[in-house]
């Protein structure tokens, strides 16, 4: 979702976001309770089929899978030491399948459709929560990730340029100040774009 969306028109892309979100939750729950290795193998196979069906470029798959492999490279042997190789591989398979599924969701679902899903989900509760607001909040949170990353990068560069190193406060203060400033400006821009109600 964080700008990771891979455009496409496959069934996986076109499926309603709400349905995908629901399926994702249910599938991950099922994967976690699977006991038999053959069941898990089938689940992993299913995930692979979905990736193929969504026509995700191998490069993107790789980018998402590598970080998980790192984690598993450490976690699986440790687990094997305590619980034996079967249990360790089961655990590794569960984690890999779940994370891969979640990645598939973000790769095939736009933020706007997640927002719409969020609104639909909250519709029965509209007397208490404003779905539009929640959706907007979600969008802004996602939007703030690259913004804040950028601010941190700039502040670190500015410090380096001045030859300063050292305390964490010296980093935190300008980052917080700049973040608040850009939050204020973003708020103003939202009003200007007619979202003040």
């Amino acid at each position: 979702m964080i700008g990771l969306y891979v455009p496409g028109s496959t069934l996986v892309h076109r499926a309603p976001a709400l349905a995908k979100l629901g399926l994702l939750a249910v599938t991950i729950a099922v994967i976690t309770v699977l006991q038999e290795p053959w069941q898990l193998a089938a689940a992993v196979g299913g995930v692979c089929v979905l990736f193929l069906a969504a026509r995700i470029p191998p490069r993107m798959v790789w980018r998402h899978v590598v970080p998980i492999l790192w984690l598993l490279a450490i976690a699986v042997p440790v687990q094997a030491l305590f619980a034996g190789w079967t249990a360790a591989l089961m655990m590794g398979g569960r984690v890999a399948a779940s994370v891969a599924l979640a990645a598939l969701f973000t790769l095939t679902t736009t933020v706007s459709s997640v927002l719409d899903a969020c609104q639909q989900l909250l519709r029965p509760f509209r007397r208490w929560v404003d779905g539009d607001r929640v959706g907007l909040l979600l969008a802004l949170t996602i939007r703030c990730v690259p913004l804040t990353a950028e601010i941190v990068r700039e502040v670190i560069e500015a410090r380096r340029a001045r030859g300063a190193t050292g305390s964490l406060t010296a980093l935190a203060v300008p980052v917080i100040v700049r973040s608040l400033q850009s939050a204020e400006a973003l708020g103003e821009a939202l009003v200007a774009r007619g979202l003040d109600d």
């Binding site: 979702m1 964080i2 700008g3 969306y5 455009p7 736009t110 933020v111 706007s112 539009d132 969008a139 802004l140 996602i142 939007r143 690259p146 913004l147 950028e150 850009s182 400006a185 973003l186 103003e188 821009a189 939202l190 009003v191 200007a192 774009r193 007619g194 979202l195 003040d196 109600d197």
Partner: protein, 226 residues
């Protein structure tokens, strides 16, 4: 073309007076506002769509009071900020443009079509699905402009829209603003942006000190800052 009217407008931030009695009727297609840092240009510009409301006096757009009918006013007046990063809300280019239309009653296919044609017009069609934060500075400002114009306002106010851009992108944004059918009001320190404008207003320490054709007003401005 809209008519924007300032009458007896005064404004201070705390104790500090920023606008000291501004009377203006803006009806031309291309209007520039220039002045030194801190002279009150941004405050004046923000008042046109009610982001700042005057302490004394009134500002109206086509007879609508910005202080009391802010929402209606903002539907007519689009605002472009200096830093597009603060204006872009959604992660991808097309989503950000579509975001402006969330509250409109257009159907989904209509929204998609409007977004598509707007991106086309601003030369961003190839970037429709790209993350907005990866665009270049010039492209981000184009996106900010596209996101404002997709709502079809009748006035576009831009506060130093080219300050953060290199000369080439500044020219690109300037040309884009000039090509709009909308009424355009630009605050700027880059005087070449005002070539071909109908009227330029010079503000100094909260007062209008010149209000004329670009040549005459910019002449007055140059002698003021000399």
């Amino acid at each position: 073309m809209s008519v924007i009217e300032f009458s007896g407008v005064e404004h201070s931030y705390g104790e500090r007076p920023v606008l000291r009695g501004v009377d203006l009727v803006l009806g031309e297609g291309r209007i520039g506002i220039v002045g030194a840092n801190g002279s009150g240009k941004s405050t004046l510009a923000r008042m046109i769509n009610g982001l700042v409301t005057p302490d004394r006096g009134t500002v109206t757009v086509d007879g609508l009071d910005v202080a009391r009918q802010g929402r209606e006013v903002r539907r007519r007046v689009g605002f472009v900020f200096t830093n597009p990063d603060n204006q872009i809300v959604m992660p991808t280019v097309s989503e950000d443009v579509a975001f402006t239309l969330r509250k409109s009653r257009l159907s989904k296919p209509d929204v998609a079509e409007r977004v598509r044609s707007t991106l086309e017009r601003f030369g961003l069609a190839a970037h429709a699905e790209h993350p907005a934060h990866r665009l270049s500075g010039g492209q981000k400002q184009l996106l900010a402009l596209a996101s404002v114009l997709v709502a079809e306002p009748s006035v576009v106010v831009a506060d130093e829209p080219t300050t953060l851009l290199d000369a080439r992108n500044a020219r690109l944004i300037g040309e884009m603003l000039s090509s709009l059918e909308q009424q355009v009001i630009v605050v700027t320190h880059q005087l070449e942006l005002l070539d071909g404008f109908d009227r330029v207003i010079v503000i100094d320490d909260g007062r209008i000190v010149a209000d004329d054709t670009p040549d005459a007003a910019l002449g007055a401005y140059r002698s003021l800052i000399a």
